[in-house]
């Protein structure tokens, strides 16, 4: 911790840094909370506290940050109840898959805890929505979702892949709050791990071959092109398709389909050397973000009729 350098670096991006610290008296009061002499060993913690006080969250989150977190929270409830209900449904999830699905259910529960903690009074609801707030048949599209294994894991793949795209799309909004950003990134990668596992289950095992002619039946652990529209085309096609806006410049934020092979103006297929790379390989190498409105339109298929709170 080089304080000289730190302060001068902060001053470059925040000319008001000195005004953010409390008065000298309050600084000493803060030091006093240690209840003992300030030693070199305690200084890092003290300064870390000082900076948290200067820059920490002081109450309300900006509306755009709260909106991103609330959408994420609603998606986590969608997922939590989906896995929880699946685990409680007789003869649905094979014994060999139960430990994995329990882990996924628990991860989502943890994400709910984290997001609620960050949102506090700004959460979309101060109480948990009930499981009946969701309609996992997707308005009758998947009537056997909790009795047919293939349907269940197909819908699961749709949820996790939507979640990964949603967090990726929301991340830039969180940039002003570095700790919230990191927490969201730490959820995002876990959702991607879930997606990989669900895709392995659908394939038959981690080491089973995908069927490249029918990826909606036996997908890879990564998204190849648009995965033929996902597990249940045409319902799941939007999960792998473009969002809005679908195109933009090299430093713009935009939401191409998962089949996109150009990143920051670089064509990944022609740019990659030394290995044989197909268009599919170029698309698999990068996942794509999705905008909030497109995510909501997908998720609204799974809210109970009459519910106007979720994914609004």
């Amino acid at each position: 911790m080089d304080l000289f350098k730190l302060i001068s670096e902060i001053e470059k991006v925040d000319p008001e840094v000195y005004d953010r610290f409390d008065s000298r008296r309050r600084v000493f009061k803060h030091f006093g909370t240690m209840g003992k002499a300030v030693t070199a060993a305690t200084l890092p913690a003290l300064f870390s506290g000082l900076f948290t006080r200067a820059y920490g969250q002081t109450g309300t989150l900006p509306a755009e940050i709260a909106a991103v977190l609330n959408l994420a929270l609603q998606l986590e409830y969608l997922e939590f109840y989906f896995y929880d209900t699946g685990l409680k449904s007789a003869n649905l999830i094979p014994a060999a898959e139960r430990p994995g699905i329990e882990k996924i259910r628990n991860d989502e529960s943890g994400h709910i805890k984290v997001l609620r903690g960050a949102l506090g009074s700004q959460a979309f609801s101060q109480t948990d929505p009930p499981v009946t707030a969701f309609d996992y048949t997707g308005g009758g599209r998947f009537p056997d979702v909790f009795t047919n294994q293939a349907t269940y894991f197909g819908v699961a793949q749709g949820f996790v892949d939507t979640g990964v795209r949603a967090y990726k799309g929301g991340a830039p909004v969180l940039m002003p709050n570095k700790d919230l950003l990191e927490a969201a990134l730490n959820i995002h990668s876990v959702e991607a791990r879930h997606s990989s596992h669900i895709r392995s289950i659908r394939r038959g095992s981690p080491g089973a071959m995908p069927d490249m002619n029918n990826l909606n039946q036996k997908p890879k652990s990564w998204i190849s092109g648009t995965d033929n529209g996902g597990s249940a085309p045409p319902t799941t096609t939007p999960i792998y398709g473009p969002g809005t806006p679908a195109t933009g410049g090299a430093t713009d934020i935009f939401f191409p389909a998962e089949s996109n092979i150009t990143q920051a103006g670089v064509n990944i297929q022609t740019n990659t050397t030394g290995v044989a790379i197909t268009v599919a390989g170029a698309s698999e190498s990068f996942d794509e973000p999705l905008d909030a409105n497109t995510v909501k339109s997908i998720a609204r298929l799974f809210r109970a009729p009459g519910n106007t709170v979720l994914f609004a």
Binding site: N186, H197, P206, A250, A264, I277
Partner: protein
């Protein structure tokens, strides 16, 4: 500098003793900084920026280029690892049409695509081609190869997540996000190949445990968050796989 926020401090200072007379906050901080470095017990980085640097390390730089070069370095390492897999008897012994071989082929393609992408995107700002040292890995042994793959993929995920806060340009954060989820897909699959249902485990994810079997959502211990790592911690591991002259530091990313 803001000009209108002084009154609360002035008010409070007026109530204080001589000891608490207002001083320039800058002076206070400089004084405090000096003390922190002068107290004998060494604090990492204080006084000497080179304290924790690896000798002759290649520094990835600062700002967005620093983060991109950091990512480029890790992708180079991964790409070189998967390229070298193809020289070992574990890979060459796999049936040409086996799923495991297809998976390793895909991983090799993805990681080379990532590395070459960063090289092109960085242009003249890119760090040099690194020389890996994989002498600790037995490329003829499945367990050695897959455990190394697991370590690299998990490290990559933790590294991207922990470096996100240093990115300044939103579009670059999205690019990093596009790659890290693919790395997470890799990590989960390799882990499931080694031990089924270990796609998330407590070494990489702070697993959540419900308080009871009937707990409602969010009630329990843990967070379900990936355990992200800051660059210094990541590079300590990565440098074990790089030759002298190719070892890395990230002194501006902390």
């Amino acid at each position: 500098m803001a000009t209108t926020k002084h009154s609360p401090e002035q008010e409070e200072a007026a109530q204080g003793s001589a000891l608490l007379q207002p001083i320039q906050r800058r002076s206070f901080l400089r004084y405090a900084g000096f003390s922190a470095c002068a107290t004998g017990l060494l604090l990492a980085g204080c006084g000497d920026d080179d304290d924790d640097e690896v000798a002759n390390a290649i520094d990835v730089g600062s700002g967005d280029n620093g983060v991109l070069n950091y990512a480029y370095a890790l992708e180079q390492l991964e790409a070189a690892f998967y390229a070298q897999i193809k020289t070992g008897t574990y890979y060459t012994g796999l049936n040409a049409s086996s799923a495991e071989r297809m998976i390793l082929d895909d991983l090799a393609v993805h990681e080379k695509a990532h590395a070459d992408f960063f090289k092109t995107a960085l242009g003249s700002a890119a760090i040099k081609q690194l020389e890996p040292d994989f002498s600790s890995i037995n490329f003829n042994d499945r367990s050695s190869v897959l455990n190394a793959a697991k370590a690299f993929e998990d490290l990559g995920v933790a590294a991207y997540n922990g470096a996100g806060r240093f990115i300044q340009t939103p579009a670059y954060l999205v690019i990093a996000g596009k790659i890290v989820s693919v790395e997470a897909r890799h990590a989960a699959l390799i882990r499931d190949l080694l031990a089924y249902n270990s796609f998330v485990d407590n070494d990489v994810v702070d697993l959540f445990s419900p308080t009871s079997a009937t707990s409602g959502p969010g009630v329990g211990n843990g967070t379900g968050l990936e355990r992200s790592k800051r660059p210094a911690e990541v590079l300590t591991t990565a440098n074990q796989f790089l030759k002298q002259g190719s070892k890395l530091s990230a002194n501006s990313l902390r």
